[in-house]
């Protein structure tokens, strides 16, 4: 299963959703997230969280070179939505251009940050096998 949006010009944002063999659902993002491209990220995060399942969802930001407040706002909304579904939103990779904005705004507390995808695992959670209704 894979849906993707390739960057067509410099400044555009590429996104791709894929379910790993481990069961983890991943959104790969490639490009710069600013006021122009944040809506593309929002749409991709919407698709990610619309995908049925109660396993972990991850956003791989290794190939992201810039993250503006407009992008942070979109990520924060997605984290809240994931929480209301009873699942955690994991952020993977991301250099200084991603980690610094998360830290200075304190929004790193809303996410589980990972160096790479290998530490995002499907942990069985007894009694929480289905998404909570809200």
């Amino acid at each position: 299963m894979s849906t993707s949006h390739e960057p067509t010009r410099p400044g555009a944002l590429g996104t791709r959703i894929e379910r790993l063999a481990s069961g983890v659902l991943v959104l790969w993002v490639d490009g710069e997230i600013d006021t122009l491209t944040a809506p593309t990220l929002g749409t991709a995060l919407g698709s990610l969280l619309d995908t049925p399942g109660d396993g972990p969802v991850a956003v791989d930001l290794s190939e992201v070179g810039f993250l503006a407040s407009s992008g942070l706002a979109v990520l924060i909304r997605a984290a809240h939505r994931a929480e209301s579904q009873g699942r955690a939103l994991h952020l993977v990779g991301g250099g200084r251009a991603v980690v610094r904005p998360l830290q200075v705004t304190g929004s790193d507390r809303l996410f589980t940050l990972h160096e790479d995808l290998s530490t995002v695992t499907v942990a069985p959670r007894p009694g929480e096998s289905s998404p909570r209704a809200d």
Partner: protein, 143 residues
């Protein structure tokens, strides 16, 4: 042969009153160019990596905020002054009237306040609106 002060050295951007000004159409599509200039100036002025990242994001935020209230077809002016380990930035757009104001009660403005050492609105005369900010090369607490 006369001595020529080479352009582009650290002295050239760190000297007194070194000014770089960028003018673009007031379009979000051109902000990546302006934030690239901000990064470049900060790197040449020996800003530490966190401070470069913060300035780049602050300039992006200021310009994006202003482009939002700019009158259609107008321009964005962004001036950088580098001196003594500080970069001062003044970004300005023309507005369509006194109703086009920048709201400081937003997530973006709070982020801007966190990223810059000082930030304020400027030129709110009803025809233009601007944002002035400055950023030091490194947080003195971490030196």
């Amino acid at each position: 042969m006369s001595e020529v002060d080479p352009v582009g050295t650290a002295d050239a951007v760190d000297g007194p009153g070194a000014v770089v000004e960028v003018r673009t159409s007031a379009s979000a599509a051109l902000i990546p160019t302006i934030r690239a200039v901000a990064s470049d100036l900060a790197a040449r002025a020996d800003f530490d990596l966190d401070a470069i990242s913060d300035l780049r994001m602050a300039v992006d935020e200021a310009c994006a905020t202003l482009v939002d209230v700019a009158s259609p077809g107008s321009g964005l002016r962004c001036a950088f002054r580098v001196h003594g380990g500080v970069i001062e930035v003044e970004a300005q757009v023309e507005t369509s009237g006194p109703d086009s104001t920048v709201s400081t009660d937003t997530f973006g403005w709070r982020v801007l306040q966190t990223l810059a050492d000082e930030v304020e609105l400027s030129g709110t005369d009803g025809r233009t609106v601007g944002i002035r900010l400055n950023k030091r090369a490194a947080d003195p607490a971490h030196r």
